[in-house]
Each structure stands twice: as C-alpha cells, then as structure tokens.
Symmetry: D2
Subunit: 358 residues, 4 copies
C-alpha cells in the first residue's frame, strides 16, 4: 500500500462520515428502486430550497462523464453540437463520450499563452469561454450560407470551477447566459466541484445565481464529500417528457437510487455541503500562501481547491518520494507542472506534512 500523503486529486477518499453513518442507519430499510424513494425526494427538495428554484427537476446520477453525456444528449437535437472550451472536460477528457452519443463538441479557444516571468504564469482566465467569443461563433455560424451543412450550436457547456480551478465572475456568467438566451440555446454548467466554487473567497457567484442563470447544472458529490454521485438540476424543468429511459439508455439509472438520494440529503442538511467545501478552500488558501512565501512558481492563479505549481524535475523527483501529486503537463524539458488538490477532508496536519517535503 502506498502510504505517501496524497494531494493528487479530490477524489482519493471515501465520504464524509455522516454519510457513512446514514448508510449504516438505513442499511436494512427497504427502498424502492431507480430513484423513486423518499431520500431522493427529500434531497431534491432540499436542493431546490438551497438553489431557490422550486420548479426545478432534480435527478441523481453516478459520475461526471456519465452526467455530462446524458445531459448533453437531453439538450441537443441530432443535428446539434455542444459549444465548449477546448480545454473543457467534454472536449478533451471523456474518451469521446459525447461523440459516442452522436454529437460534436464545437470548441472555443481557452488555453491562454503563459505570461513570461511572473509568479502567476497563467491568469485566472484559463479554462473559461468568453461571452463575446461565444456570440461570434454563433453569429458566424448563422451568417454562413452553408450552415445547414454544418453542426448547429445547440447547447453551451461551461464548468465552474473549470478544470483549471478558475471561476467565472457573476458578470461573466450573466453575459454568457444573455448570449444563450438571445439565441435560444440552453446553457449547461458542469459543477463537479461546485461547492469549491461557491465557497471560494474570490467569487461573487452563488449556487442561487447559477440556478437563475443556467438551464441545467449539476452539483458534484464525488469530489465534494460523497462516495459518488452528481445531482442534476434543471431549474426550469427537464426538456424531455421521458427523462428516465434516456438516463437508462446511457447506463446511468442506478438500481439502488436511494444511495444517491441519501448522500445528497445528508450533504444538503445543515449546509454540510458548503461547510466541507469551505474546509477545502481554507486549506488551499493556506497551502497557496505557503507556496508563494517559499518562492514556488504558481502556474495558474486558482481561487479554488486545485493549486498548480511549476517544479524543476530534480526537485519533483525528491518530492515524489513522500507526496502523491497530480501530473499536469511538461512546459519544457526540465520542468513539470503539478496539481496539488485539497478536499473536504484535508486537515491542517496534512498541509503541514506536505510543507515539510516542499
């Protein structure tokens, strides 16, 4: 067994102990299958209250790629594609799950050139799309005489936090939402790490803003205190009469659906979801300050639980004897960018142990 401390990702641990307790407590209660149980209902109600969207439809799916694939397939007509940042999870890291469902991912550029010499190599814009570029893409499409021979932009996918830990401001989100409304294109926000975005100290976007501004989003459980699970919220209702067979076709209908309901019911009781998200942010902030103080080169100026630094390869080799980290990329032959992620369970002791090796 690998006993090194790990900051490699935010899905390396089990679940918040309150969730495990409730699994124990309810283990022999006999539940209805496929999400028709009381816990799913209760969790949905708590989520609708937290998001202030009483008319929402809420579903509970198992994992991120599955959720992205299922939602996008619900949103799109066969001749439509989904617009995403070229760094977006659906564009780059889902093994073609969107295309497997028959849809193209239409990409907008989002990888900024790193700035030279500064501490923050990338700005906090990386991983995001811009409202004006989205609008230009849509207008260019409709202006093309041959657009019926092209893939229609049928939905917009954004992640918040992004895959790089960055966040949209409320103004940015409103602008993107405005473009989507203007062209009647639904906006989908991937919130696999939504809690960490909501609790960032450098955000003005709340979960209620999101529910107001997008057509569908999900509240990530896998990376934020649940064993697994993503809560999908359609604030204005789901755009299909029969979501269940679509979910089942995607292999995404869990037989013991109450396991998902129970977890989200727990996370949305007494604001547990936000409280544990806050912990990750506080630990990340401590880590970040320590790193800057010690002269580490911050690669992306991330306001959330994922921190990215550039290390010389020799230095990294030493570090890897004690610490597990996330490999990110190699900007050149002698350096490596790594990700250090805190999570709902990271402790001050963990950070201190990590700093001993840094």
């Amino acid at each position: 067994m690998d006993n090194r401390i790990s900051f490699s990702s935010d899905y390396t641990k089990g679940a918040h102990p309150r969730i495990l307790e409730r699994l124990y407590e309810t283990n022999y209660q006999q539940q209805n299958g496929y999400g028709t149980d009381e816990y799913c209902e209760s969790a949905a109600n708590k989520i609708k209250a937290a998001c202030e969207c009483p008319d929402a439809d809420v579903f509970f799916l198992v994992g991120g790629t599955q959720t992205n694939q299922t939602i996008i397939d619900m949103l799109l007509k066969p001749y439509e594609g989904v617009v995403a940042a070229e760094t977006g999870h659906v564009a780059a890291h889902e093994a073609g799950a969107i295309e497997f469902s028959g849809h193209k991912v239409l990409t907008l550029p989002s990888t900024l050139e790193p700035s030279e010499g500064g501490a923050a190599v990338y700005s906090d814009e990386i991983g995001k799309i811009k409202a004006d570029e989205l609008k230009a893409l849509i207008q260019r499409f409709y202006a093309d005489d041959n657009h019926e021979h092209m893939v229609f932009p049928g939905a917009v996918y954004i992640s918040h936090p992004t895959e790089y830990g960055t966040l949209y401001s409320k103004a940015e989100l409103e602008a993107i939402s405005g473009v989507c409304k203007e062209f009647g294109i639904p906006l989908f926000l991937d919130g696999a790490r939504l809690g960490y975005g909501h609790m960032s100290k450098r955000t003005d976007v709340t979960i209620k803003d999101i529910a107001r501004l997008v057509d569908v989003f999900y509240i990530g459980g896998t990376k934020v205190g649940a064993l697994f699970g993503e809560a999908v919220v359609f604030p204005k209702g789901v755009p299909t009469k029969h979501p269940v067979p679509i979910i089942k076709q995607h292999g995404a209908l869990l037989a013991k659906g109450w396991l998902l309901g129970l977890q989200f019911d727990t996370l949305f009781t007494d604001e547990l979801y936000f409280e544990i998200s806050k912990n990750a942010i506080e630990m990340a902030d401590i880590l970040r300050n320590e790193l800057i103080q010690r002269g580490y080169r911050i690669y992306i100026d991330s306001p959330t639980n994922q921190q990215f630094i550039v290390l010389e390869d020799d230095r990294l080799k030493e570090l890897s004897e004690h610490v597990r980290y996330g490999f990110w990329e190699k900007p050149d032959d002698k350096h490596t960018v790594i990700r250090l992620a805190t999570d709902w369970a990271t402790t001050r002791e963990d950070i201190e142990e990590l700093m001993r090796y840094l």
Copy 2:
C-alpha cells in the same frame, strides 16, 4: 415511510455489514482513481482464484444495464447483433440501451405457453434459450443468400439465473457453448444474480463451469450483498486492446473505482458471496414449500431466490396492505402474477411475517 415488509426485489437493501465496515475502515486511505487501486487488484485476484481462470481480465462496473451495454459493445463489430431470448433483459428491459450503442438484439423465443391446470404453470425452461434453436438461427442466417444485408449474429447473451429465476443445466450450458465455439461467436452470461444460481440446490453448474464455458460473464453485486457493482470476468482475456476508453465512453468508469474493488474483495473473502447467496436460497426454499403447502399456485418453477405465484386480485389487494411484492403480469382479468424475492439478508422472521399475511 413505507413500513410494510418487502419481498418486491433483491435490490431493496444496502450492503452486507462487512462491506460497510470496510468502507469505514478505509475511508481516509487515499486511493488511486479509475480502478487502478490495490482493492480492485486484490478483488480481481480473488475472483480469478474462485473461478479458476488465472488468465482472466476482470473489470468492475456499477450497474447491470451499463454492464450489458458495455460488454456487448466490446464483443460486437458494427454490423453484428447479439442473440438473446426475447425475454432477456437486454431485449426487453433496458430502454433500448443496446440499440443506443448501435446494435440489434436478435431474439429467440423463450416464453413458453403456460401448461394448463398444473401447480407449476410454467416449466423451468422459461427465460432460457436452447442450443438447437441457437444453432438453427445461425445456420439459417448463413444459408440466406442475402445475409450480408442482414444483421450478423455476433455474440450470444444468456442470463443465469434468468429474469424468471430459472437456471441452465450444465449440459445445456455446454451445448450452447459448443454451438458458440463451432461458429466462433462469443458467449456472454449475465450473472446479475449469479450467486443465487451457484447456490441453488437444483443446479449442477458452478461458477467455475461458467468461467470454463463462456467468453465473458459478470458476477452481480448489486443484488447479492453489495451496495452496487458488477464484476466482469473475461476468462480468456478481454477482446480489445483498450477497454478503458470503451468503458469511459459508456459513462461506466467510476472515479472512485476502489469502492467497487473493496466490495468485491470483501465478498470474495472467506466465500462471503456464496454464503450470503445460500441464505437467499434457503429462505426461498422455505417460502416455496410453505406456499405449496398452503395451496398457492406456483407460476414458474424457479430454483432460485425469485418465486412467482398467481393470486386472485381480491386476495392480492388484501396482501398489499401488509406486503410489498413485485408486480409481474396479469394472465387474465381476475388474477395477477407476483414475484416474491428473497435476498442475502432475508431472515426466517421475515418469511414468518410474510406467511402471516398469506
């Protein structure tokens, strides 16, 4: 909350307590993601030992429809379909998940006409395919001059126990396996309830026989003591160089894959899987004997944990005040067939409570 006792299915409870204990014990151990952890490895090794197939490839997926869809997509070329009983889960109850993946289900008849007047309305043949009918289908296909305009039989799907609780004999399984080998068509056995088949008192088929006779099968966890999870076994190895992206495309790659490994590691330690399966069989046998003794009409002569009886509708209405059951079908206007399923956790007290209402 619905406090009536439930015999409606075998996926109404959580998990064997040993699994919950291990979730607690390992909750803060930090694991590698996506099934690359030590528990998946350990579980795979124990399964390979139990099945006596040391060269097998083993994967852990989340649920049944997902597993069926992913395996069948791995087995088939684009122009091939999967042969199944017309009552098979993939043919009838997966919302078109196989067709969603681009493949046709080629069906063989399996719903026998009920025999008149006897206690056992259906024989124990229901839900199964027959080797000679399979062979005839394949031969008819290749004999047709136009078969290149038709869907090639590219894999064979059977379930054991079937959706009706029935079992193949070893001779039947060998015959089907023989036909598959003769035509070079892989045989896939859906073992969502495999433990209950293995432990039936009326079977001569063991899990080792299955590993010897089929090309791929899965060991059901969801219905046999796990929170969720199906262990897929390719005894002679997986027929694709890159199973991971295929699994991910189907939304079936669990981030915290070790949750699956841990559960199957637990179930395959000290033969727990078989022991708890045995409990379900024993409870079903007691139930079945009681039912026969009290003059209930057995609808299908099932040797496993699912029992099917025919009730008059008035009688059923009374029963439903105290007991949850599985609705099966309505053979006529005045009767209903119901399913009563025992599971790994059913107790003698549960049976006694049920019998009080019957």
Copy 3:
C-alpha cells in the same frame, strides 16, 4: 455477360427512356446543388398535386434503406423505437441500419403459417400488420408498470406493397391510421413499390388515400422507372425545423440533387409513373394466370408485380439454365420458393419467353 432473361427483381434495368432523354437535354444546364434546383421544386409540386396534399414537404433521397433510416430517425425521439412487421424491410433486411441510428425495431408477427394443400400457400395477409395487434402492443406497453425501462413505440412502419407483394385495403389502412392517431404516433408508409400498389387491380387504396392517412410515405423511383431515387412526402409537413442537416448526417444529401428532381418531374408528368406501373401489373397478371393454368403452385397470393411460386428443386435447376429468378426461401429439402418480378419495362415477349421455359 449473363444473357438469360431475368425476372429476379424490379431493379435490374436502367430507367424509362423519357428520363434518359431529359438527362441528355439538360446535361449542360447548370443547376444549384443539394436539391435547391428548379426540377426538385417542379417535381415536388407535381407530386403534391397528384397526392392532393398542397401543404406537404417533399424531399428526394437516393435509395430505400437510406430513406427508411433517415425518415425513422426524423420521427423518433431517442428513447423511442419503430413498430414494424417482423418481415418488414427495416426489421429484417437493412443490415441493422435502424439500430445503427440508435433505434430499436419493435416487431409484430406477420409470417402466417402456410395453409395446407391449397394453391395459395400463404394468404394475402402476409407481410402486413393488423390494427388490433398494433393497438394491443401499444396498450400493453403503457399498461406495464416498468414501461419507462422499455423502448417506447414512437412510430409505425408499414410497407405497401409489402415485401411479399401484398396490399393493405383502405379499411385496414384507416384502422391502422386510427390507432396511430389515437396514441399520437406517426405512421410511415414505405412505398418503394408504391406505383405497383396503386395500379393493382385488387386494391381500393390510391396514392391520395395514402397521403390522407399517413404522416410520411415515399414514392419509390428505383423500382418504378427511375435510375434511382425515392420521393419522400410529409403530407402535413416535416416534423423537424432542419431536415437538411439530418439528411446530410445520414449521407443522404445528393450533391446533384436535380438528378432526383428531374426524374420525378418526368415520372409525374402526364401520369407516366402510374402508366408504367400499370404495365408491370398487367404483365404480372398474365404471368400469374399462365402459372395457375399450368398448375404451378402459387406460394403467396400477390396482387402486385411480385409473384411467388414453389418449385421442385430438380425443376428449378432446369429453369435456372434459362431464367434468372429471385431465391426466396426453402420450405423443405426438396422445394424452393422463387420470386418472379415484372417491372415498368417488362414486355409480353418477355413473359412468353419465360413461359417457354416453365
């Protein structure tokens, strides 16, 4: 080169000479691509007039399987399948093209048991579905508690003439149309041989009846005097805002679309389509009467251009030295069912030559 006379099918010759003439006449006229030309417009108008459906949308596609696949994909939601006779072309002879598009074919039985001893082994019911069986299938589906785990009946496919040359009566068609309307399910009629149905002496169904009773149908050109091409008619309009990209996704948007328009414009000028269809019917009737008179065993009582007879294998061997026929099936070891098809260009001399060998 094979110089034997051929009655093997109705797609063995080129096109009516008037079509070839117009190809010559228009060869250097420069046309707009992709069906936006004047001939497509003119042909659509003539078809709408002939069918008395002025509000129709008309498209021209290239071949039958392509047309079936594209139309069905336009009609169905992802979780829906198409209901068809188990002998229907989409169910049996399109290499899985419907499943390739993600949809299941839900089948109704249509192969009747042959009657014993009579001249007509099969009745004229073969190949057809029945309104009451269709209704029962739909009702059974919605009555099932688990129907959200099953494939929804989302469209109905019939062929007229069927693959066996048989025809629906107007009453039958009205009944099927009524069931479809009752459940809000679109009805699609495959008219690959529509002209031969319309001109049969044993039908009361006209092309206008069809336009009135179905939601979409196509007028076959490939088998009725065109080089290739099928004219798709949606009498009440196409149910998608953007049919062009859907057609293109299916590889079905011909660059030189005017070749299709020109052919149908020719066929629907001066009732040429019906006139040449009539020829095939007259030749088939002569053939049929001769066959009966000579004591041949008629296998299916077909009122259209396809005739089916049962021959002893020895007799067939002799015949095949002089005549090409369509192999249909082997009812037993010593007999073969063959198809003899007339077409728009069959002459009395052809029939006489054939009869010399029979």
Copy 4:
C-alpha cells in the same frame, strides 16, 4: 430558370456524354444488384491497373459525405477519432456525419493567417496538414498519462486537392505517410477532386503515388465527369471481413450499383478521367492568368480547378447580375472572397464570357 453562366462549383452539370451514351446502350440489359455486376468488376479492374495496385479492394459509393463517413467508420475502433485539418470537409462541412457515426474529429490547425499586401493572400499551404504537426499530436497523445481518457488518433484524413484547391507535394505526402506508418495509423485521402489534382501542372503527385502512400482513397466522380459516384480504393485490401453490411448500414449500398460501375468503367477507359480533368486545369490556368493580368487579387494560390479572388462588394454586385459564383467568405465589411470553379466541361467560350463581365 437561371440563365447566368455559372462558375459556382464543379458539380453543376450532368455527366460526360460518353456516360450518357452508355446509360442508353445498356438501359435494358438486366444487371445484378448491389455492385455484384460486370461493370463494377470491369471498372475496379481498370482502376487497379491505372493505380498499379492489383491487390486493391474497390467499392463504388454515391456521394462524398457518405463516402467519408463510411470509410472512417470502417477504419476506426469505437474509441478512436480521425485526425483532420480544421478546414477539412469531415471537420467542418458534413453536418456532423462523423460524430453521428460515433467518432470525434481531432483537428490540426490549417487556416494560415493571410499575408499582407501580396497578390497571393494565402499561400498554397492552406487546407493541408503537416507531417511534423501530425507527429506532434500523436506523440503528445501517447505522452499524456491520461490518454486512456482521451480519444485515440485512429486514422488520418487528408484531402487532395484540399477544399481550398491546394495540393500536397510528393515529399509532403511521403512524410505524412511515414508518420502514419510509424504509429500504425491508416491514412485516408479524400479525392473528391482527385483528377484535378493529378492533372495540375504544379504537382509531382500521381494517382499511383497516392495508391502507394495511403491506406484508402477515393477517386471522385461527382465533380469529375460522372452524374454521381465515388470510387473507393483500399490498395492493400479493405480492413474488415464484411464491408457490405457496413456500407448498407450507412445507407450507402446502391441497389442499381452497376450505374456506378458503368460510369467509372467509362471514365477509366482510354484515360477519359484524366483527359477531362486536364480540360478543367487548362481552363483554370487561362482564367487565372487573365485574372492576374487584369489586376484581380488572388486570394489563394491554387494550382487546381478552383480559383479564389477578393472583390469589392460593389464590384461583386455588378458581377452577380451575369455570373453565378461560389460565396467563400467575407474578410472584411467591404470585400468578399468568391470561388470560380472550372470543370471537365468548361469551354474557352465560357471563360471568355466570364471575362467579359470581369
């Protein structure tokens, strides 16, 4: 009817008169269906001889998007995508036909920034991919620790001539072919305008070079003298045991397949294909020289039958009263790029008429 002269594209006319003659001559010959006729065989043999690839498999499909979709689906495993220039037809102008088949298009940049001030605004590099960039993409993919979560580069698509009329040199083609061989990735060349590439005066690439360097290519008929049709050539054989059902699944199996065989048999008799291609090149060269001489701004330095110029919008308005052209793009508010395409049937008189309006 629009009587303006048209240079809008190379698919505005019918077919070379020799093809129409042969349609007449063979109209009542009765042929076997689905490409099993003598003309397909003869055409395949002539193509194999012309390409010096005696072991090739040759198929005849109807149109370009259909052919691209079918070939790519034959080449790729489910988890693989096809690499193409971002301007490639499969990436940009097929309404998502590749994604409809379940595959991602992985793009390489190919739109160069226009150079300032010169006569040739774009170089002849536009529309092409580069061997070193292809290699870098593949290496980057395999170097990524997470590449099993990404889409594998499984085939490479190039067009020759490209959508912009540009051509690969033999050295460039050899370099791309070398990279493909190094990584075991099949190379597919879209030759919708292959004749015009082969006969360009500024190329060193012959059809034999192509047959030697790629794994599959097609010889375009639709744009080069046929009514329709693309001849697909797999020089080393087709990589699937059953191409026919795959072709049929894509709706691409023409019933009267001999219409395709007959056309290509005609085009590959007495080098007709190359002779008529030569005409288009000669006419384009005359046009190009005239344009340069008259001071028109050449937008892309194209060595084939498509010529691109930039016009002021006022000037274009006048022109459009007399001439049909292809709209290409608007580089700014006051200018438009148009395409003027010659073809197999363009005459010196056509050019002269065009020049009168320019």
